[in-house]
């Protein structure tokens, strides 16, 4: 170690505090709500193709969320989580990455998976926990995952993916890959011990991770000013000696620019970056939540004016890359597609009873096998009690 720690700091002789708010962290904004670009702003690398793909992904996201919240109200699925008003964080994140980069999300980042090309059917089958779900019907709706698309399966316990991302990225670097890991989490999850563990370990072991905090103002009912003191969590980056960037999370160009910059740095320097995207969760936390119990309509209305999708649309229109006819056609088609897909997926069978015991281990141990045999005998004895599986047991 450096034994001369005394000499690294300037010396004072009067006891006085460093103030808790002594780091001023600016916020990056590129795109205005009206679709124009701030004067002198530096644009991310983006061409018409990328912009169009990004915008279409945002539209898909908005439509899927709307429809599935409705489907939950109708009792067709058990649960859903929308990302209304903060779609730019996940979609822009994926747009700033390469396909080989690993995405480790919290749960409100379906947009990144959409951008990677997870099909509508895949989304549906997961939400309906049917036998075509890649996750074999084992997790609640919205816990997507895809090995092929480098999108780590969502895990409900909050914050656990943060140190995992540090390890994952360390492995990527050890192998010499041109790949990084992006790790999403909410400002609420940033209070977990695993956040501290993950950021510090990534800093010390120089893992190429982009830690991406979606600061949407709430953790369920808990407002961010009961979550931490200060104006965000970006200031913590400094505590880990980590490069840090705060952005307007509703500004898709700022998101892409920040992630592109972070990726370049992470690959070249082999070190982590912290991005904090300021946004607002416009909808309920989940379909089990009712925000009217803890916040005002006025507050929500104010944030409605910062809609990230409308903002991008305005820019696309201004670029001449998009028009209202395309808009109408796209949204119509998306709505139809989603409705049609719901109807298909909800009719697909539940997973086979075998999937109760697969994947617990690589191979089911004898005791589990015998529990399974007993279960099958039992179901055969009481077929009416287990209607979804009784007819399918060999």
């Amino acid at each position: 170690m450096n034994t001369d720690i005394y000499s690294e700091s300037p010396v004072v002789h009067q006891p006085a505090f460093i103030d808790g708010h002594s780091v001023e962290i600016p916020i990056l904004k590129i795109l205005k709500q009206d679709g124009s670009i701030y004067e002198n702003a530096t644009m991310p690398e983006i061409d018409q193709a990328l912009a169009t793909k990004t915008y279409k992904t945002l539209a898909f996201h908005r439509v899927l969320d709307e429809r599935m919240v409705a489907a939950q109200r109708q009792g067709r699925i058990s649960f859903y989580m929308a990302a209304l008003g903060e779609e730019a964080a996940s979609v822009g994140g994926a747009a700033g990455l390469k396909d080989q980069d690993m995405i480790m999300a919290q749960y409100r980042e379906q947009g990144a998976l959409m951008f990677r090309g997870f099909s509508l059917e895949n989304f549906m089958n997961q939400m309906f926990s049917n036998e075509k779900d890649l996750g074999k019907g084992r997790q609640m709706p919205i816990h997507y995952g895809s090995n092929e698309l480098n999108y780590m399966t969502i895990s409900s316990p909050l914050g656990t993916q943060i140190p995992q991302a540090a390890g994952y990225a360390y492995g990527q670097k050890m192998q010499g890959l041109d790949a990084v890991t992006i790790c999403y989490f909410g400002e609420g999850a940033a209070s977990e011990g695993d956040f501290h563990a993950g950021l510090n370990m990534a800093a010390v072991h120089q893992s190429p991770v982009i830690f991406f905090c979606r600061n949407n103002g709430y953790a369920i009912s808990t407002p961010s000013d009961e979550q931490y003191v200060g104006n965000g969590i970006a200031s913590r980056g400094v505590g880990y000696g980590m490069k840090t960037l705060r952005i307007d999370g509703n500004d898709i160009l700022a998101v892409i620019a920040a992630v592109q910059l972070a990726r370049e740095y992470a690959v070249k320097e082999g070190k982590p970056v912290l991005i904090e995207a300021m946004s607002y969760r416009l909808g309920a936390h989940s379909t089990s939540d009712d925000p009217s119990g803890y916040r005002t309509r006025e507050e929500e209305a104010k944030w409605q004016e910062h809609d990230p999708i409308l903002r991008m649309k305005n820019w696309m229109l201004a670029q001449g890359w998009w028009d209202e006819a395309q808009e109408t056609a796209l949204f119509e088609k998306l709505r139809d597609d989603v409705l049609a897909a719901v109807k298909v997926s909800e009719k697909i069978d539940k997973p086979p009873v075998e999937d109760l015991i697969t994947d617990v281990y690589d191979q089911a141990p004898p005791l589990l096998q015998s529990q399974f045999e007993q279960l099958k005998e039992h179901i055969k004895k009481y077929p009416d009690a287990y209607p979804f599986t009784a007819g399918r047991i060999k």
Binding site: R138, M140, G188, E192, T222, E226, G293, L356, Q371, I379
Partner: protein
């Protein structure tokens, strides 16, 4: 007496304690203004102020660490963990700290005033992270008490006893019953004893034991058995740690047959402790092996929940097997 559901009974118990003891404090994620995601702490912040009922940051190890400190200081912390599935980040604070605080200090300090409330269990289409019954994980820890109520009346009486007990208590609330279980609950203060099981139905042929939400499943199985002329003695364990060996053993000595059921997976669940102890206590009285009817040894499933759970039919089968052994 009023009709209350299980949530209301809990809310009522918390209200009772906060009114009588101004050092009682309720906190946890979303516990404050909103009253908790299940609304168990509803109205408490309004009534007792933000200092005594509040939201914490999202950090379970912090919630329990904070609670341990507050209890050591002499306050009465009642901490909520939003789902029992999320109690594990606090495992060290509970198992290495709360449980050992008094012992390690030679009674110089203790956290006896600590109570941890947490909703547990399945049956709500919650999958592997909103359905766990983790009581057995804590049962290997001398110093803790573990309590599980089966209905609103039990919930109020046991929660009041847990908060006032001078040992750290984890109070597991069967969330499937939060609104589903409704019953008569006295408005007045009352306590039910910790460490005492309750014989809820006398019987002569076989003893059935469970706790929490599993009780109604066992009762349903007993009804089926009774139609076959089998007389079941049904016991609610109520306190997992320290558990009431005497009541259970006495019953099994009388009936000679024993089925114990739990929601959690079989292996190393608390049913195993019970079976191990009872085979020892009642060896010469047992006419059939002790049967454990439990969850399978897998994470809690979603789509195949119905198949997975220790339902009344599986318990009924175990009863019949025991009777015909």
């Amino acid at each position: 007496m009023a009709q209350m559901n299980l949530l209301q009974a809990i809310n009522n118990a918390l209200d009772t304690v906060m009114a009588e003891n101004d050092r009682a404090v309720c906190f946890g994620e979303d516990v404050g203004h909103f009253g908790g995601v299940f609304r168990a702490t509803s109205g408490l912040q309004e009534k007792y102020g933000k200092n005594r009922c509040f939201n914490t940051p999202l950090v379970e190890q912090g919630v329990i660490g904070f609670a341990n400190g507050l209890a050591a200081q002499g306050s009465t912390p009642i901490a909520e963990i939003q789902f029992a599935d999320y109690i594990f980040p606090a495992f060290d604070q509970i198992v290495n700290e709360s449980a050992k605080f008094r012992y390690r200090s030679g009674n110089e300090f203790d956290v006896g005033k600590l109570t941890i409330r947490t909703p547990y269990g399945g049956g709500i289409a919650g999958g592997l992270y909103h359905s766990q019954s983790p009581e057995a994980y804590f049962a290997h820890t001398p110093g803790l008490k573990l309590v599980v109520p089966r209905n609103p009346y039990q919930a109020k009486g046991l929660l009041l006893a847990s908060i006032r007990d001078d040992n750290p208590v984890i109070f597991f609330e069967p969330k499937r019953l939060y609104r589903a279980s409704v019953g008569e609950v006295p408005e007045e203060d009352y306590q039910l004893p910790l460490g005492k099981a309750e014989v809820v139905q006398q019987g002569s042929d076989i003893t059935l034991l469970a706790w929490g939400a599993q009780m109604e499943i066992v009762e349903k199985a007993a009804e089926l058995a009774s139609a076959d002329g089998i007389s079941c003695e049904i016991i609610d364990l109520r306190t997992i740690l320290p558990w009431d060996i005497e009541t259970v053993a006495n019953s099994v000595m009388k009936t000679g047959r024993f089925v114990v059921s739990q929601e959690a997976p079989l292996t190393a669940g608390f049913a195993s402790e019970i079976a191990a102890t009872i085979q020892q206590e009642c060896f010469l009285h047992l006419e059939a092996p002790i049967a454990r009817v439990c969850g399978m040894d897998t994470p809690y499933p979603l789509a195949l929940e119905k198949e997975y759970v220790a339902d009344h039919l599986k318990i009924y089968e175990a009863i019949k097997n025991s009777m015909t052994y």
